[in-house]
Symmetry: C2
Subunit: 433 residues, 2 copies
């Protein structure tokens, strides 16, 4: 049968096979009785039902504004929303748009910040181009980079985030290998990193710009700052973004989302970049979808304009602070007596990063993961997914993949679920200590 001839997919299709996120979701589906401390969903109870309703009703109380929401928008996103995003950034940064050196023209609205990350990768990275990331870092972005055929090189971190001495050492090594001209991007989740919960210290936020600029010897090295969690701050200092220190506005690209702070179902994120980067992203997005859902943008713009959004975020912080405390207390209760087990106390975000003794691996095929999922009925994200390995470097040149961590989230479970999940997880871990 001629119609059974094989389909020849594109070369890059093979680079995005077997994504860990798909495996994780599959595990969730196949094991519905498992209590998930892995799923990246947000808290179900606090989803903004009433605010969304009020915003929708406001929008649809007027034929004109209803029809604008139902008609095509523009590729870059609704201009009124982009104006509100500018004010939103002014509030978050405590600086005027002028001081920040940005206008609406620097902003593009996307389907979650995920689409912004992906579009930026598409317009910037050729196969074998290099992106530097923290070890560990957001594993879904590692998938994006892998799907583009990029080289991902990990840089060591400590409790203040990516180490600047390690970053410089990595850049020096790449220069000595004749690869500095392939370094396009430094990716940083500067507030409450997924998965580690750590934030980049203020002095490093200033240093990293200087480093990127100093090492831009042949081409510009851009910093991609992912602030998905910035509004989910529970205690500790609120630090200005890396972007806010970028005095010329030419080095840092910032992306944020309303998925964590409002509703992931609306899928509204955005990014701020120099205009030539915006033009490139807009051209690619023009081909990809010529604009994200206009309706969502109008609902969110209404919630922002009416200040309902800000009331919601205040409440949400209290909700997540309680859930974070609950997870930390459960960690104390169940894990503190286990030798070699420790964890990060995050000041914000959705994750607790737990370290086990080096002998206990946590990966999908590890005995611990299997015991957790099949016997104790609890699931976590194996920490090793959050480390990149670069095939072009020797073992001694890169930050090694660490196999003894777990990413735990307090996002989706309620307080009882968190307590029960942590108890089950401790039982699983105990059988290996």
């Amino acid at each position: 049968m001629s119609d059974n001839k094989k389909i020849h997919f594109s070369t890059k299709r093979s680079w995005s096979h077997d994504l860990p996120i798909s495996f994780l979701m599959q595990q969730g589906v196949e094991n519905p009785d498992v209590l998930s401390l892995a799923a990246g969903l947000v808290d179900q109870n606090s989803l903004p039902v009433e605010i969304t309703k009020k915003s929708f009703e406001h929008l649809f109380s007027n034929q004109q504004s209803a029809k604008e929401a139902l008609q095509y928008g523009t590729t870059a996103g609704s201009l009124p929303l982009r104006s509100l995003l500018l004010s939103h950034l002014e509030t978050l940064e405590q600086k005027s748009a002028e001081e920040l050196g940005i206008t609406e023209d620097n902003i593009i609205v996307t389907t979650g910040s995920q689409q912004y990350l992906s579009l930026l990768g598409e317009v910037l990275l050729d196969p074998e181009d290099i992106c530097l990331v923290a070890a560990p870092t957001y594993f879904v972005f590692l998938g994006v980079l892998q799907g583009l055929g990029a080289r991902i090189i990990s840089v060591e971190t400590d409790e203040s985030g990516m180490r600047m001495d390690s970053l410089e050492a990595t850049l020096a090594m790449l220069e000595s290998q004749g690869q500095l001209n392939r370094v396009k991007l430094i990716y940083l989740v500067s507030d409450y990193e997924n998965p580690s919960g750590l934030s980049l210290s203020q002095d490093r936020r200033q240093q990293v710009i200087q480093i990127a600029q100093n090492w831009s010897k042949q081409q510009r090295i851009l910093i991609l700052e992912d602030l998905a969690y910035r509004e989910l701050c529970y205690d500790g200092p609120v630090v200005p973004s890396i972007k806010s220190f970028d005095s010329t506005g030419e080095t840092v690209i910032l992306t944020q989302t309303f998925s964590k702070s409002f509703s992931p179902g609306l899928r509204v994120g955005f990014g701020v970049a120099p205009v030539e980067v915006c033009a490139a992203i807009q051209d690619k997005k023009g081909n990809d979808d010529f604009g994200s859902t206009n309706m969502s943008q109008h609902i969110l713009a209404t919630a922002l304009h009416q200040n309902w959004y800000y009331d919601h975020v205040d409440n949400l912080r209290a909700v997540y602070r309680e859930k974070r405390d609950c997870m930390l207390q459960a960690a104390d209760r169940h894990f503190s007596k286990l030798p070699g087990v420790h964890w990060v106390h995050p000041n914000g975000g959705l994750y607790v990063w737990m370290t086990l003794p080096e002998t206990i691996e946590t990966g999908f095929s590890s005995p611990l993961f299997q015991t957790a999922i099949h016997e104790e009925k609890v699931m976590y994200v194996p920490g090793e997914l959050c480390y990149a390995i670069d095939q072009g470097l020797s073992g001694t040149e890169q930050s090694p993949v660490q196999k003894n961590h777990m990413r735990l989230t307090f996002g989706v479970q309620n307080l009882e679920g968190i307590q029960e999940g942590m108890k089950r997880l401790a039982n699983a871990v105990k059988s290996f200590i």
Copy 2:
């Protein structure tokens, strides 16, 4: 200043520069007093304000369903929506899903059908791979193909759509040039093609499957059937899709959208494909945005489930039929006495394709376009944008770019606007005859 070093964009970024759609939109913005017969917006008055309101209220009358719409969905799209899409296709095809050989697993929901077209291109086409298209065809898809570095080869059309003898001749020529193994896709807008308004005849719908299968000598040649306009049928026969004739389900990929028949602001489209193609698209979409707006999907699912959608489409057909008739009458009134001017009577869709004498060019830089936009204050889409040129073929081997056509749409203007626009356009054309 080291931070002023040049940004090195990816190679493919240069392939999506200067898209005509951006130029057209820019013209619209810069000339706000211009009456547009170009803009691809849908009719503003008939946008489904009341149905969307009812659907939203229905969804938000229940905390559980409201929260589902506000939470993350899945990459492939809401399962209840995909079930409704299956029934929707059964209705449109007058065949059961079993007869069509498809289940929910063959369906992926996207941000308009545009994202489906783009994702399919990404997973299928390497630079220099070949896609065969009708001359003329949907120019935004030409932009997608160009952005992927693909070769686009035009096949001659007549009043029954793409000519099957020309298709075979093109395949034979490519085989003789050793390029048959690079042919991955045949793209067909089978109902009321944008821009020509023509439909592919039923016998050709069957033949094209046979041709694709016969020429799948080294790898499978897939047919991408874009049925964006299928529900906007005003008169003439309703012909089953190419997909409905694909007995093994291995040759045709079908995509549709609710942007034309319901609301582009919701940005909901979908595609139907063999499962291995779905897996590839899902992996890419997982990296790109891990799911289109969930809220839009839930609103649309409610409108479909309550049958409100179908009532709307019935009304919409009457609205557009009247507008089409209005444009055709205005064409008769203002153009019928102009020698060498003729146009297609479309049985559906949103476009009237008008041909001028060969000596009158219609492109952006042509005297006609400049006169139309600056003096008569009316805008159309130059037909030449809808023709591809392949650099690898000699002039004698390909269907030539025709420069004397205009795509006129009756979508966005009301009846007065259509009449006035056609009058202005005729004035512009007259000055060149």
